[in-house]
């Protein structure tokens, strides 16, 4: 764990990590229909921790302290409410008798169990009835301990919209009562792709997302990587696709600090200071990528990770194997046709051949209307026009892109591109 000089523990990281697994454990006892109660119990334990640690200081093993506090709050609650409420169907009967009450609670809070609880909750959150956005929202809220306001900031949405989305999603989850059973391998494998996809989206929200805050974005990437590592630690979760996904995350995280400079300015790949790329994460990514190369299936994660690895290992933008990248994008388009993938492919074509060819590819993208609100389509047109020396056209596209920019970071990035049109020596 990283630490600042004066604070040996990072309470925010600790709370985020513990909150997910403790809510998952308490929900396993209370039942999924009591999810919000489980969250309250854990919140309450954290508030008490804060009150006590403020004055008494942080205990030696804060993690164990939080587990004990949450367990005690849960026990209080169970004793008080067990006549009025029903809890998880699997344990409800055991909680009603004094003979079995304590052993049941103790067992569910045992160390090894708690780890699986997190995985169980992660799969539960990827319920088939939920949309992608809803899944990512509940994962952030329940598993990562993000408040509604923080999620709203991450998605650049209003807190009330996020509140509604998450409440609706939790309602859907509550109706199923049962947490997802991670011990049945057929269930596990059937839902695994949805889980991988949610983690992928969570990571992308941090990497490409609309939030202007570097800290917020780094946090989203970090959480996605943490949850992905849980998948890797599970025998059924550690599939080639999970390895590829984790590799992809490592390459992205390695480049994140250079993507946004210290002022929060967005840097194009060509302007990034490659010395800032985190070599440790890159080699970790390469290791994961090599482990992903088993089995017959090349998933979209495999291809994206392969593309990212070519960027991550190239010394300069000119040294990059753009030819190979174009052909990887071709394969990606075959699996997942999307205008954004086509856009990235066109940019790779411009590098591998020339700007005119890139423009040609950009103009013939299928489903262009899907990009009508995406600032980087216009930005790509501007970039390539600029390279061919058509400054007026370039400027027009950058202005169009700027009008679509989603945050100040993107706007200032595009402002700099507009200035570059006035002074082509910047190109």
């Amino acid at each position: 764990m990283e630490s600042d000089q004066d604070s040996p523990i990072r309470l925010d990281h600790l709370f985020r990590q513990e909150s997910g697994r403790l809510v998952a454990t308490v929900a396993r006892i209370f039942g999924l229909h009591n999810l919000s109660l489980a969250e309250d119990v854990v919140q309450d334990a954290f508030s008490r921790a804060l009150e006590i640690w403020k004055i008494r200081g942080v205990p030696e093993n804060p993690s164990a302290w939080l587990v004990a506090a949450a367990k005690n709050r849960a026990i209080d609650y169970l004793r008080r409410e067990r006549t009025a409420r029903t809890f998880a169907p699997e344990v409800d009967r055991l909680l009603r008798s004094e003979w079995t009450f304590s052993p049941t609670v103790e067992e569910l809070f045992a160390e090894g169990e708690i780890k699986d609880d997190l995985l169980r909750m992660m799969f539960t959150c990827c319920h088939p009835k939920l949309t992608d956005d809803a899944r990512v929202g509940v994962i952030l809220n329940v598993l990562c301990g993000f408040s509604i306001d923080e999620i709203a900031a991450a998605f650049v949405a209003t807190p009330s919209a996020i509140q509604k989305r998450i409440a609706r999603a939790k309602n859907t989850l509550a109706q199923s009562q049962h947490l997802f059973d991670v011990n049945t391998s057929s269930n596990f494998s059937a839902r695994l792709p949805a889980v991988q996809r949610s983690l992928y989206l969570l990571f992308n929200e941090g990497y490409h997302g609309a939030s202007a805050e570097f800290a917020v974005r780094a946090e989203l990437c970090r959480e996605a990587m943490r949850l992905a590592s849980l998948l890797l630690a599970h025998p059924l979760g550690a599939t080639p696709a999970t390895y590829a996904l984790s590799a992809l995350m490592c390459f992205g995280a390695a480049r994140l600090p250079a993507r946004l400079d210290s002022l929060g300015n967005l840097n194009a790949l060509s302007d990034q200071n490659r010395a800032m790329w985190n070599q440790e994460l890159i080699s970790q990514g390469l290791e994961l990528l090599s482990r992903s190369a088993s089995g017959r299936e090349a998933t979209e994660f495999h291809i994206e990770a392969a593309i990212a690895s070519l960027h991550a290992t190239a010394a300069t933008i000119e040294d990059t194997d753009w030819h190979e990248i174009v052909s990887l994008y071709d394969s990606l388009l075959a699996i997942r046709p999307s205008p954004i993938v086509a856009l990235n492919r066109a940019i790779a074509v411009a590098h591998s051949e020339n700007a005119e060819r890139g423009l040609e590819e950009l103009r013939k993208i299928q489903g262009l209307s899907g990009l009508s609100r995406y600032p980087f389509y216009q930005a790509a047109l501007g970039e390539l026009e600029l390279r061919t020396g058509k400054l007026t056209d370039a400027r027009r596209h950058f202005y169009a892109a700027r009008a679509l920019a989603r945050n100040p970071t993107e706007r200032s990035f595009l402002d700099r591109r507009i200035w570059a049109c006035d002074d082509p020596s910047h190109v």
Binding site: D6, L11, L50, D149
Partner: protein, 113 residues
Amino acid sequence: MAEFVYLYRGGNRPSAPELQQQILQKWQAWFKSLAEGGHVVERGQPLERSGKLVQAGTKSIIDGPFAEAKDVVGGFTLVKADDVGQAAELAKGCPILDHGGQVEVRPVMHIDM
């Protein structure tokens, strides 16, 4: 040197982990500076926000809280300082002041024999 009790009153609790982190850090830093100045006698304890109130006469017992939330004592610390002025000055560093709380500084009654 005389002894004083700090009573921490009110103050709101933010729910976002980053803010909680900041609060904890500030308290740790404040206690550290107090301790380095040799002012901490006993760090004290936090108090539950609810309790009972036993009333005079009838001795009937009623539930707390006894005051408005902003006035409820949430904890105490025993410190020593040259005089109440210095004790109050030191209390200015208490992070509860950034979150709508107050510190009440009360001299421990001292009897000169």
